[in-house]
């Protein structure tokens, strides 16, 4: 990415997104090619992209400032795609991907990437599974070879399967079962979205993992790990034409799979409050959570809802946080947690509070209710609106500051929104939210049918 000083517009900067069609490549495997350009505050994202004949979408953003590149490969499969009785599979599969393939030994990814001075990891969410690495730019061949080999020929064996089942159960014990609040939060979030793909945690249940068979794993791989369900982004010191030729030769022969299943829209109706109190033997002090079901991520109200929650809760000067923390001294912490529950097609707005010792949920709840009533009646000020937009602007600009951040945002955009530069057009949408929008969404979504969880220490 290059920054063009002459184009820098500090205030009122808008995202500019254009798509230019380029002539198709002569190579048989490349079905479609083009360029997508975004510009914001003098930051330019000039993404060149192509699609292989097998359906794999590839995005390249050249930046030669350091001799490194970041590569993100996302698959459009997450825990929401799991079937009943086989929860935890998407994440379990992420582990299996490191157990070797036709040409790569078990653990080879770690050894080769870290051995080259790079770093690598992967993550699984409700909506996607993403593998990423950062390497010196002269290791491009290595990165493409490692990823294409496992997509082509993952070694799903009984031995690997058992070994990783133990590792995942161990991860669950460590990261979920042994950490205060986490179990209670996950079970609450699951109930909020019960009956949908978001109605269970990404880590899944130990019983399901124990019941899984190696055939299930193979079936999952064949269904979801196909090039037409994958998006690859490479950002950094690479040459587009070279990437195109090399992606062609490494991924081009992998056969296209069945079209990934489409997701149905998710009902956001909440016609009565969902309130729960859970005693957590690991917690030493209470944690309160208050939220509402709102809108899916592709809904036009998403930006206004996020700005409203930020104005109320984000930062010490935010309305509710200022009162709870500094004026009434009722809480140690008060933060908005937008994306903790649900996922891309199931949206909620939530806030978490850790009370000061001796302060009750009722004390805190009274302040929240009072402030929400005020917002419904009078909205927020123009200054509060600007502040929330400025906070999101700095977040966006900061995340665009690294190859890794840009590659992640490109894959996220392409996988979930079919728009690799959505990070820039999104910012434009945040900037267009008005004070009237805030009042409208407050009345529409902040209803009495709240989601309330109280986690209390178990005596």
């Amino acid at each position: 990415m290059s920054r063009m000083s002459s184009l820098r517009r500090w205030m009122g900067a808008a995202a500019l997104v254009t798509t230019t069609a380029l002539p198709l490549s002569a190579r048989a495997e490349v079905a479609e090619e083009g360029e997508k350009k975004g510009e914001l505050m003098g930051i330019e994202m000039k993404i060149r992209h192509f699609t292989l004949a097998n359906g794999m979408r590839v995005f390249v953003l050249e930046d030669h400032s350091t001799p490194m590149f970041s590569m993100h490969l996302g698959y459009g499969v997450g825990s929401r795609d799991e079937v009943e009785g086989r929860t935890g599979f998407a994440h379990f599969f992420e582990h299996m991907m490191y157990k070797g393939s036709a040409n790569v030994p078990d653990g080879g990814h770690f050894r080769y990437v870290l051995g080259a001075g790079g770093k690598m990891n992967a993550f699984t969410t409700a909506d996607r599974t993403q593998y990423h690495c950062v390497l010196p730019s002269h290791y491009l061949d290595l990165a493409l070879w490692l990823e294409s080999d496992r997509l082509d020929s993952l070694a799903v064996t009984e031995e690997n399967f058992e070994n990783q089942r133990q590792a995942v159960l161990e991860e669950k014990a460590m990261r979920i079962d042994n950490v205060p609040y986490t179990g209670a939060l996950q079970s609450f979030f699951s109930d909020v979205w019960a009956g949908t793909g978001y109605g269970h945690s990404t880590i899944g249940s130990a019983a399901d993992l124990n019941a899984a068979k190696v055939e299930d794993v193979k079936a999952f791989f064949d269904k979801y790990y196909v090039p037409n369900n994958a998006v690859l982004a490479i950002v950094g010191d690479v040459d587009y034409e070279e990437v195109k030729a090399k992606v062609d030769s490494t991924f081009g022969d992998i056969p296209r799979g069945e079209a990934p299943p489409k997701h149905e829209p998710i009902d956001h109706t909440q016609d009565k409050p969902l309130e729960r109190t859970v005693a957590d033997p690991l917690a030493q002090q209470p944690l309160y959570l208050v939220g509402w079901k709102t809108v899916p991520e592709n809904h036009p109200d998403r930006h206004a809802v996020e700005i409203m929650m930020n104005a109320l809760l984000r930062g010490d000067s935010a309305r509710i946080t200022r009162i709870l923390q500094d004026e009434k001294k009722l809480v140690i912490a008060s933060v908005p947690i937008g994306s903790a529950s649900g996922g891309h097609d199931a949206g909620s707005a939530m806030a978490a509070f850790i009370p000061m010792p001796g302060k009750t949920f009722d004390d805190i709840n009274a302040v929240i209710n009072g402030e929400i009533a005020t917002v419904k009646k009078s909205g927020i000020t123009a200054k509060e609106l600007s502040k929330a937009v400025n906070q999101i602007t700095v977040d966006t600009v900061t995340s665009l500051g690294t190859n890794d951040g840009r590659a992640d945002l490109i894959v996220t955009g392409a996988l979930l929104y079919d728009d690799p530069t959505i990070v820039l057009s999104d910012l434009d949408k945040y900037r267009k939210v008005t004070v009237a929008d805030i009042k409208r969404v407050a009345n529409k979504y902040l209803t009495d049918n709240r989601l309330v969880l109280q986690v209390t220490p178990k005596k």
Binding site: P136, H138, D141, P180, P281, Q284, G315, V394, T398
Partner: protein, 379 residues
């Protein structure tokens, strides 16, 4: 495997002698060096080749020619009051990150140092906390302050166009804090509240106990969680005195990085920090680590337990005292640690996680400090 040998090596008693040195004004010079005496542990070299597999795998693609790396050059200058300024230009995106680092930390005053830092944002002679919060949050920026063992840092991150505002606020917090008593009480209550949370974190419990038993009595690196009584005892006067003693431009340095050039950095730094009065260097206290003249390893492998009812899992810390950051073997030890357990390619991870599936993760680390740090295997 290597672990067994390392335990053996670790249980060989080493007495590490410290050479006291004056601190603070020495800048980046490590004030403490460590000389191991007595028996030096001999670690047999374990086999270096990877685990033998039946399948023969091809070599991965060879890398292309290596390209030169041009690290950004840090420009440096010093203000007349002694504040050293480092400028690192990185204009990838229009943001500026600034750090003001004071050479003082919880090793100088266990509770007072972190409370002093946390109170900086609670109000200054000319700005209330609400005013500071509103000013920095309005531009989407952030300011934070905190104290570690060796140093105290005030930090900001803003769009480049707001760097002047950020630096003026940072300077005001560092130079003119008022330490309001009501805010101190709030902070004490918050800290006491967070104590419960911290004590419920199993990994933290294990790490704190490990450091406590490894270091000699009273050592700043080996402290337990504070008690509510200790927190209650902190006074506004304690904070004022600590601030007056240590928060001086000639006991600090400033790092400005991002979309900034030296000329702009100079004008920003001078404007914000130029009027900060310097300290008489002889008034800066001696390094508290100098009191600890020797360190000893336990005579035999000792096991310490934290009973945490309800745990579904065990956190283990295994290790011992190692060497100070300034020790001549530091780099060598770092390389050894990289091989043993720094990441998932380490032998510990490959053996205990990948080969045997005994744990989700196992890593080793060496902790850096002016005094000897620890070598620790954690799982």
């Amino acid at each position: 495997m290597t672990t067994t040998k390392l335990i053996a090596a670790a249980s060989v008693a080493l007495s590490l002698t410290l050479v006291p040195a004056c601190k603070k004004e020495k800048g980046t010079e490590p004030p403490l060096t460590v000389t191991p005496t007595g028996t030096t542990a001999q670690t047999d070299a374990p086999p270096t080749e990877p685990r033998v597999k039946e399948t023969v795998y091809p070599d991965p693609p060879a890398p292309g020619p290596r390209k030169p790396v041009n690290f950004p050059q840090a420009e440096t200058f010093t203000l007349p009051n002694g504040l050293a300024v480092y400028v690192v230009r990185n204009a990838e995106v229009p943001t500026i990150t600034t750090q003001l680092v004071m050479r003082c930390g919880s090793m100088d005053a266990e509770f007072v140092a972190p409370f002093t830092a946390s109170m900086l944002g609670e109000g200054t002679a000319s700005r209330s906390k609400a005013k500071i919060d509103e000013a920095i949050e309005f531009v989407g920026g952030r300011i934070a302050a905190g104290a570690g063992l060796h140093s105290t840092t005030v930090w900001s991150h803003v769009l480049a166009k707001d760097a002047k505002l950020a630096m003026v606020l940072m300077a005001d917090e560092a130079m003119n804090p008022t330490f309001p008593a009501t805010a101190l009480q709030k902070l004490k209550d918050q800290t006491k509240g967070a104590l419960g949370y911290n004590k419920s974190q199993p990994d933290l419990l294990a790490s704190v106990l490990f450091d406590h038993v490894v270091y000699p009595e009273g050592h700043p690196y080996g402290r337990l969680f504070p008690t509510p009584e200790q927190i209650d005892a902190i006074s506004v006067d304690d904070l004022r005195e600590f601030h007056e003693t240590f928060y001086k431009p000639n006991n600090a340095y400033l790092i400005i990085s991002g979309d900034v050039d030296t000329a702009k950095a100079k004008s920003l730094a001078e404007r914000a920090f130029g009027r900060w009065a310097k300290a008489d260097t002889d008034k800066l206290p001696a390094n508290p680590l100098n009191k600890f003249k020797s360190y000893a390893h336990p005579k035999a492998l000792t096991v310490h337990l934290v009973d945490r009812p309800g745990s579904t899992q065990t956190h283990i810390r295994l290790g011992n005292l190692a060497i100070a950051r300034g020790h001549e073997d530091w780099v060598g030890l770092q390389v050894a640690n990289a091989i043993l357990g720094d990441d998932a390619t380490g032998r510990l991870f490959q053996d205990l996680r990948e080969e045997r599936g005994l744990t989700y993760g196992i890593y080793s680390s060496i902790e850096e400090g002016q005094a000897p740090g620890t070598f620790v295997v954690a799982t």
